[in-house]
Symmetry: C2
Subunit: 336 residues, 2 copies
């Protein structure tokens, strides 16, 4: 007996942007940073955040019902997750990506249909703007963006530090290293590892500040460069996290070939992304991330472990494997 | 042992607008109407929908991973739910509300933060536009909107037709009847019931067409009126579905008082909404619907069963009860 179909699941998904935008606004308004200081009642929280009384309580209670705030005896407080990850005063803050999603992506995704019809990006580029250009010109925005990338990849970075056989290698460079989130996790877990990050010169000071804050500047260094126009650093292990999906197929293969050239025999390339499952039917986040590449970039797309494995073999890597990391993230390892 | 917190739930909720907008774009592009005719492979579906090849397959596979399409041997087809509810050729189509959400609400919710700070609507009203004015001036848009309301309330309407003791009553009018979704469900399930719908004159032809399509025009009729400025129809049972939440507290109480006046002793008022749970901590949809009233209207808000019960008692109703219907919807019944 199949129960008769109900529209509930469709309506929930169709209106899921309500809950999503409510969290994004809460991050923008720094609800979680405020409540990390102390639990507050609705009136005090409303005043502190500068909200109009009309809908403040509905807003706070919606956050409770969504499972990202708690309320005890009229006092609102963070959940363990929001206290750790959405309090700006903590280094574990990952809200930067959500701030960016709130300020940019939510709006640009409003033009998804046009993107699907034209195959063209729907972000600042559409009105002649240049997101990365603007970003690289403003050190404060850039730092915030790179921090958000650290947060976004933190789970994957910790898993890579645990799962990869680092004891078999001595040197490691992350290509497109941003703030240095991955190299710090690896260096902290494996005191013998030396290396650093390779990224555009403008990211150097932000990388170096982050590395110093962990006291790792004796083992990790910043190497400035453009991964299309400069040779990649030589190390036993190279990694590219959320890099390949930005580029078209030809560019992806070029970056893999450059990594192959830079590695010694027996060296390893680690590629990690929200890999789409090989059957392309379960990892919704990976597939939606690929649509996000449509919104953001002229040729980027996400891919499966099988796709990436084929590119690695084609580039000459003799051994490959795919391992799940956390949540939607997996890594592909190629051994030269 | 508590497992250490992970950011996964936060990220999933924060980026949930991706999946939501993907479904909304699929409704806009009539993916489900196309596939209801016959299952299609990616290339044919892309051509039929007029999509650019770049991201079409990612789009279709994302819909599969989100559980709203199926794929067998490379052929995409609807799920039982999307076939029944998102095929425009079927009377069970409920996509009108999602079309409206895609064309309007998604964008207006982008200004949620401003709404929370100002307490002011964030829709057409903000630029001097008038959503309802425009709607009432365009018969095709109006019909589509009223259809969407029918779809949105269909589950609740069927539940009310089953749960309420209709055998104890003979006459029934729905106040703010829109297309007539509720009165049709009640009249079909209970052949002794007579009555109809009360709504603004402009909705009359759309109501009457819907009633005739079920052959119910001998028992159901349309009574034109403005529920603030005209007396309500006299009947043993009156209902207001997704009506009270549009208005401020004073207006809500006025409408309840007018219903009380129009009912005979022993008569019943049925109020149904996505009622917020009394503890205000589980029905996220009801709380978010209340934020949607902030986006859409100057004074509307959603409320709990306890709130509504108190208003009914205050208006003189001698007996009240709250019953869950389906999904986020519940009804409050007041007996005069």
């Amino acid at each position: 007996m199949n129960p008769s179909p109900t529209p509930e699941k469709i309506m929930q998904l169709g209106m899921a942007f309500w809950g999503s935008k409510t969290l994004l606004s809460a991050v923008e308004l720094e609800v979680f940073t405020e409540l990390a200081r102390q639990p507050l009642n609705a009136d005090t929280l409303q005043t502190r955040l500068g909200l109009h009384p009309r809908s403040a309580r509905d807003f706070f209670d919606a956050l409770v019902a969504l499972g990202i705030l708690e309320r005890d005896n009229g006092l609102y407080k963070n959940t363990p997750e929001t206290d750790l990850f959405l309090d700006k005063a903590k280094t574990s803050y990952i809200g930067g990506f959500l701030e960016m999603a709130n300020a940019r992506l939510y709006r640009f995704w409003g033009s998804l249909t046009e993107g699907l019809k034209t195959g063209l990006p729907q972000n600042e580029a559409k009105e002649g703007g240049d997101f990365f250009g603007t970003l690289y010109a403003d050190p404060i925005k850039l730092k915030s963006f790179l921090q958000s990338m650290t947060g976004l990849s933190m789970g994957a970075s910790k898993a890579i530090a645990q799962q990869f056989p680092w004891d078999q290698h001595q040197t490691f460079f992350d290509i497109g290293s941003a703030q240095g989130g991955l190299v710090v996790e690896v260096a902290m877990a494996h005191p013998h590892i030396k290396g650093g990050g390779f990224d555009l010169p403008v990211t150097g000071p932000i990388f170096e500040e982050y590395i110093r804050s962990f006291g790792l500047n004796d083992r990790l260094r910043f190497l400035p460069g453009d991964f299309f126009n400069d040779p990649l650093p030589q190390a036993e292990v190279l990694s590219m996290g959320h890099i390949l999906h930005d580029w078209n197929l030809e560019e992806k293969k070029l970056l893999i070939a450059k990594a192959y050239d830079a590695l010694p025999k027996g060296g390893a390339l680690i590629i990690f992304e929200s890999l789409i499952d090989d059957e392309r039917q379960t990892n919704a986040f990976g597939l939606l991330m690929s649509l996000n590449m449509l919104i953001e970039l002229p040729g980027g797309f996400d891919y499966t472990g099988a796709d990436c494995t084929a590119w690695l073999k084609e580039a000459g890597f003799r051994e490959t494997r795919v391992e799940h990391l956390v949540g939607p993230d997996s890594m592909v390892i190629g051994i030269k």
